[in-house]
Symmetry: C2
Subunit: 157 residues, 2 copies
């Protein structure tokens, strides 16, 4: 099981010593209920508002950031488009429609032949993006502080 649930998330918050607040409950419910949509910050904000009066957007940002950092959910980051949140932690391919923005999960069978898989799902593959994030050899060597650091904003080398 790798899919988020209301109770599962609450339990994890407790385990990690994070506080259970009305705002967090509302956000959790919004996340779980809309997980198939890979909801963005604004949808979560709107849905959470229906459950508790006045949740600030700042809180939604902070909370989704915290949850992602803690590994409760994953954030799918885009350029000039709000980040989207993933409630399925299992490794799979997200089929992102360039036209309507819909993101669909495609769970990969043991062995892959990526393009075919997508085609079989009726998805017209125009471009692929596969990335691994982690630490390069150099950084692994001099690993002084491999705290989960955000990617540097500037500088290329």
């Amino acid at each position: 099981m790798e899919t988020i649930t209301r109770e599962g998330l609450i339990r994890q918050l407790k385990e990690k010593g994070l506080k259970i607040t009305p705002q967090r409950i509302a956000i959790i419910e919004a996340l779980v209920e809309n997980r198939l949509l890979h909801p963005g910050t604004n949808l979560i904000h709107a849905e959470a508002r229906k459950k508790t009066k006045n949740i600030s957007l700042s809180t939604v940002y902070a909370t989704l950031g915290e949850f992602s950092q803690q590994g409760l959910i994953k954030s799918l980051e885009f350029d000039r488009m709000e980040n989207r949140y993933e409630g399925d932690l299992e490794e799979h391919i997200n089929l992102v429609c360039r036209h309507c923005g819909k993101i669909t999960d495609y769970h990969i069978p043991p062995s892959i032949e990526p393009k075919d898989i997508a085609r079989r799902a009726g998805f017209l593959v125009m471009d692929a993006r596969m990335e691994y994030y982690g630490y390069c050899r150099d950084c692994t060597m001099k690993r002084k502080d491999l705290n989960v650091a955000r990617q540097p904003k500037k500088g290329v080398a």
Copy 2:
């Protein structure tokens, strides 16, 4: 061959009826010379400036955008980090270091066992990102204007 070269890019511009300007030449040279770094807009701007006096940042943005749209290069888009440009059009995995931001190419052998490959390259995989961009079944159906449209900024469904 799938790697950009000065002459190749110039030829493609001509083929597509785009004008050859000093600014574009400078940007092309900057792209080719730094292709291994997956340079960002600012590096390209800085390098291009060395070749022709006064290239505006707007022009660099416009040019890299145009080149990407035409398929001469690919843009790797990130959240809160400047986009990076790819001069190797062959399908491969980009190993993105969360620590120093370095992006390394890893060309995939016929059949993949992704994680192992990365490990063999000395890269510590912490997270994976694999995405296909294209058109979902629904959009392919009612494909009226499948022009390369930018992803909608808002709205989830």
